[in-house]
Structures are given as structure tokens and as C-alpha cells.
Amino acid sequence: MSVRHALLALLSEGPKYGLQLRQEFEARTGDVWPLNVGQVYTTLQRLERDGLVRAEGAEGESPQKGYQITSAGSQDLTEWLRTPSETVPPPRDELVIKVLVSLAVPDIDVHELLQVHRRHLVEIMQRYTRLKSEAPESDVGLALVVDAELFRLEGIARWLDAADARLARVKSTNLTTRAASVEDPLPSKEAAQP
């Protein structure tokens, strides 16, 4: 999460004080990302150093410094907004690994294992949905953040369903193959005998 660009976005509306930036940041992101005030000022100092914002008003003495976005800051913000986000999956997904590994472990029912994870996911989704349903519908920031998380979790739940169905199909195919080979044991070997 780029606090730096979030602050630039808030400053693009007009000059603001540090504390005001913190409050607005939290309010606009549905209070989902708490931000400590030190983080706000450190970020503002870096932005000022890079020429993306300008401190105005107070001459160092007053604790209340106002900040204004510069034209370089506006340009940097626009570029960031339009840059595609990282969508490459993580190299190792822990859940996928667990399911793969479980296939080799005797006495593990993979369908039961998938269900354990499915239940856990649905329980987390229930909590997010409750959060959304109890918030006023006007809290668009919160709804957007919660939706993003719900769709991500739903994607995992759908993968579990797909894995469940695929493994069930593979199992029934293997059973059929095994049954067939029992009826006709090793014909090629017999054929090879003189």
C-alpha cells in the first residue's frame, strides 16, 4: 500500500495539514488502514525532499505545517494511478502446497482437508460481510475495501471446489482402471513368456 501516493491524492484536492491528512486517509479507506502520525510526517518529509510537495506557512517553529502538492507531485501521482498493479501470483501459495503435499500422505482424506479450509474461508467471509452489512451504505470506501477482500477469498473458495471435483474425478477414474487391471492381470508379461 502506497501511503506516499495516497497522501499525494489527498493533497491534489488542496493544501492540508499533517493531522488532517491522517484523518482523511483513514476515513477514505473505510478505517481499514490505521496510520500513525509519525508515518504521515516521515512520508511528508520524503515527499518534500523529492520536490513532490511544498511545506507552506509556518517557518519551522509552528507544529502545524501546511502542505501543498507541486506539479512534479501531480505528475508522479497520475503516473502511479495508471501503472498496472502487480498481479503475478506469489511463487508459492501455501494452501496449494498443503493440498499437493497431502496427496502423498497416507490416512489423509483430501476432501476432508479441503473442507477444513473451505469452512475457515467462509467463516472469514462471514465476518467481512457482516462488517459491510452493518456499515451505512454511504460508506463507499469500506464497501470497496471489503468487496476486494471478499472477491479474493471467494476465488480461493472456488479453487477449493474445483480441486475437490477434480480429485473426485481422478479417484473414480483410477478405481475403474484398477478394477480393470485386476480382471486382466498383467497380460503383457504373460504374453512375453515362451
Binding site: M1, V3, H111, Q115, R118, R119, V122, E123, Q126, R130
Partner: protein, 241 residues
Amino acid sequence: MSAAIELRGVSKIYGEGASEVRALSEVDLSVVRGELVAVMGPSGSGKSTLLTIAGTLEDPTTGQVLIGEVEVAGMSRNEKARMRRRSIGYVFQDFNLLAGLSAVENVALPLELDGAGAKAARAVALDVLEELNLADRAGHWPDDLSGGERQRVAIARALVGDRQLLFADEPTGALDSVNGEAVMRLLRAATHRGVAGVMVTHDAQLASWADRVVFLRDGKMVDQTGTPAGPESLLAAGSDG
């Protein structure tokens, strides 16, 4: 609290001999007033059978269904029909609105079938439509309504009168997520007023609106969610720069 609907050891077998299919096996489920329970499972897991049996549209092969502590098997045909008209609302994926009736006539229909005068039924139906922000659609034919509006009218019809039970099968059907959410908010508002709801779905996001989610597999109830913790701790994750 006593259960609004209870299934005790319900099994359902279709066909016999070699073609016998066991759709449900020994299912126990109890839903109290104000509670929404979602039933999740893949297709063929028995979800829809469970809903039609709980909704008294079909009888179990063995086991009991109790509605408000009264066993359904002990009711006469007429008693069952009256209970369905008065106490139970159904919402299906394909809306099931009658194309030849306007929105308000569709909603008033269950009341009229139950003997209410046309004028009184219409007034009650209009009130429900107004609650669902559909008052300006009252005179429209189902074909002139959007998908979201049709499903809201179907929900109005399911809720009209003094219903205590609501059964929903994939109630958001093919609606987009914003319209689907509006439908779920309506269902939740109904359960918050004291209606007991059972909803079957394969969709985890839809199921997450429920207080409790039970999971079916091959006709058996294999798992259910625990009492959910509050949402408070969800958003405590820190931020980075």
C-alpha cells in the same frame, strides 16, 4: 429458543433397487427465528432436495420435519396448503413471477389465495413494495422490470403477510454483485424482523450473509461454521509505507 423449522434424521431416497438414489442421509437441521442458515454444497449434494423437504413441498422418505414444533407428516393436505400460503415464503432463482399479472398483483396473489379481499390484499402488497423501494414499479408487468427489480418483487411476494419462514434457492440467480447484495440486504432485513430463513447456494460470497453455513456432501451434512467472531479484529492489520 424453540426452532422455527427442524429436520430430524431426514433421509430421501428416489427410485428403488438398482436405480435407487439416496439424495439425503440422516440430516438434522434446526433454524430459530431471526436466523439465516445457508446450505452449501456442490451440485448433486442434495441441497435442493433439502430445501424442498424443509419447505414442505416434498416428503422425506424417513425422518421428521417440524414447523413451529408441529410435525408436518401429521397435517392434512389442506392444513399443509394453508400453512404454505400463510407462513412460508419461497424465493427461487428464476423469480417465478406470473407474466400476466402486474408487480403488485403478483405480490397480492398469496393473500388473495388465502381469502383476503382484492382491495385489502392490494393495499398490503403496495406497502411491501414501498418498503422495497418498488412503489413506482407496482403497475409494471414482470417483462418490463429489470432482473434486479423482478427478484425484489419475488422477495416482496415471499414476504407479504405474516410469514415466519423463508426458503431461498440461489436467490440472487444471475444478478450482478451489486443487485445481488441488494437482494441479500432484503433477506437479512426480513430475518432481523424475526423470520427464519434457509438458503441454498454454491456461492461462498452469498453464503457469507448467513449466520451459519452448513455443508452438504453426497446427501450428508459434513460440516458447519462456528459462531462467527465479530468483524472487529479483521481490520487490525498494519499498513506499510
